[in-house]
């Protein structure tokens, strides 16, 4: 069981680095979306710093969302998924590994990068930490939940947008807690409840979503 996880991690990791573009793209995307806002809003520093945290969260959600579509597509098209379905190894564990590497390449990377962007938005230093922790706790859940949607839409030709439509509503609670942390801390209030909520969501997601993903794949692949 343990080695299934490692085996799949290894494979995904290999694939990730085979095309280094894969590694930097979600990050670039995150940065670009974030930077679109200053272009489209009236230019006032105070306005920017007030909405900065929210914008970064929304951009993170969108960057992850846009990378989801490709998550199972290639494996579906070339028949690799069929082979895994037929294999006695645990599919949920394998999928957990896949999602884990996906998170490393998207969520983790952009979390690490978020402080830089925060500075561009002139977000105060203490709130930068809040943002960082929120993203660190929130993005794995985004990858996990998103993978369910990716699995459900893998056999559809234009799944990309449908994926967004079914997954975004499920992302909203995470967004509310994550972005809420920033609003709270800017008011000087405690952020404990949000942190607990994010941890609870993450725990649930790690334990339950692998089964949902595996189940969804078994359903959609025929």
């Amino acid at each position: 069981m343990n080695s299934t996880f490692i085996l799949f991690c290894r494979r995904e990791w290999q694939l990730l680095f085979r095309n280094t573009a894969n590694l930097v793209q979600p990050l670039c995307f995150f940065v670009i979306i974030t930077l679109l806002f200053p272009f489209s809003l009236p230019l006032e520093n105070e306005l920017l710093s007030r909405i900065g945290g929210g914008v970064i969260w929304v951009s993170a959600v969108l960057a992850i969302l846009m990378s989801l579509d490709a998550m199972f597509k290639a494996d579906y098209n070339d028949g690799a998924l069929e082979q895994w379905l037929m294999h006695p190894r645990s599919l949920p564990i394998a999928m957990l590994a896949k999602v884990f590497i996906h998170w490393v390449a998207t969520g983790l990377l952009l979390t690490l990068f978020s402080p830089v962007l925060s500075m561009a938005f002139r977000i105060p230093t203490d709130q930068i930490w809040v943002l960082f922790i929120g993203l660190l706790l929130g993005t794995p859940s985004l990858s996990l939940i998103g993978a369910i949607g990716a699995a459900l839409t893998v056999s559809l030709h234009r799944g990309g947008v449908l994926l967004a439509v079914i997954i975004l509503p499920l992302y909203i609670p995470i967004l509310i807690f994550g972005a809420g942390m920033i609003t709270q801390s800017s008011l000087g209030a405690s952020i404990d409840s949000q942190v607990y909520a994010l941890i609870a969501i993450l725990t649930l997601a790690i334990t339950l979503t692998p089964f949902a993903i595996a189940g969804a794949l078994r359903i959609t692949i025929e």
């Binding site: 079914i166 499920l170 189940g215």
Partner: protein
């Protein structure tokens, strides 16, 4: 003990009987009109009482009467989701065709009630809160519910193969259930414009009986309306899905002969 197991067996049998499309169709022949009738009677009584019997509110005047539509629709929007998700789960676990049909037929009805709750809430909010929309926890979570209903339907219609479509839809419906507690408890967990639980709360309803009664009549009436529409839609879907089977062919022939005579 024996008695209990007999009951269990009976329930089990009837459960699986309902699970067969053919049995369902037979039963629905009787149940559908009954539901329709109950809906009409209850809603008429409820609405009469709501409009003419219940007193005007001392603060809000007559505008509060929108409550008699708003609250039942809001409850139903949640109730239908629970029914849909449970049916979906049953379908996934026991591979029961009827459960999927119930789930997919519930989705548009649920979405409609959600839309009605949103619309009436907005209409009501305009005079009460001075705004028809606010990005407040209760309201936004209800809006998310609407999107989840849409997502469930979109997913279903995106697949060409019916069996795949219904099972994929079922997974999403089950996953989406998390929104229901969020909506219900949103008023407690976050400070909200929307008022807290007024009817189903500890210590009984905080509402005079003259208002409560028509509300409950309407709520029950709306529920039967849901049942009525659900059965109508499910009947159609059963016929469509089973159009190749013998019993539907026989049914069609019978109808045909009737017309011929």
């Amino acid at each position: 003990m024996k008695f209990l197991s007999t009951i269990w067996q009976f329930l089990n049998r009837s459960f699986f009987r309902l699970g067969s499309p053919r049995e369902f169709y037979k039963i629905s022949n009787y149940v559908t009109p009954v539901f329709g009738l109950l809906f009409l009677v209850l809603t008429l009584i409820g609405s009469y009482n709501a409009l003419f019997v219940a007193p005007a509110d001392y603060q809000q005047g007559d505008s509060y009467r929108i409550l008699f539509v708003h609250v039942p629709s809001a409850w139903l929007s949640l109730f239908i989701y629970i029914v849909m998700a449970s049916a979906a789960a049953i379908g996934l676990i026991w591979r029961m065709k009827m459960a999927y049909i119930v789930a997919i037929c519930s989705a548009p009805i649920g979405a409609t009630f959600t839309a009605i709750a949103l619309a009436t809430g907005s209409l009501w909010g305009a005079p009460i809160w001075g705004t028809w929309w606010e990005w407040d926890a209760r309201l936004t979570s209800e809006l998310i519910l609407l999107f989840i209903y849409f997502g469930v339907m979109a997913l279903y219609y995106a697949f060409e193969e019916r069996t795949t479509a219904e099972r994929a839809m079922a997974v999403l419906a089950v996953v989406g259930i998390v929104i229901v507690p969020i909506i219900h408890y949103s008023v407690e967990w976050w400070s909200s414009l929307h008022q807290g639980a007024t009817v189903f709360r500890e210590g009984g309803p905080a509402m005079p009986p003259s208002m409560l009664k028509p509300l409950l009549y309407n709520a029950l009436g709306f529920t039967f309306f849901y049942g009525y529409i659900l059965f109508l839609r499910a009947r159609n879907m059963v016929l469509d899905n089973e159009r190749k089977s013998k019993w539907v062919q026989e049914l069609v022939n019978k109808e045909h002969n009737k017309e011929a005579h």
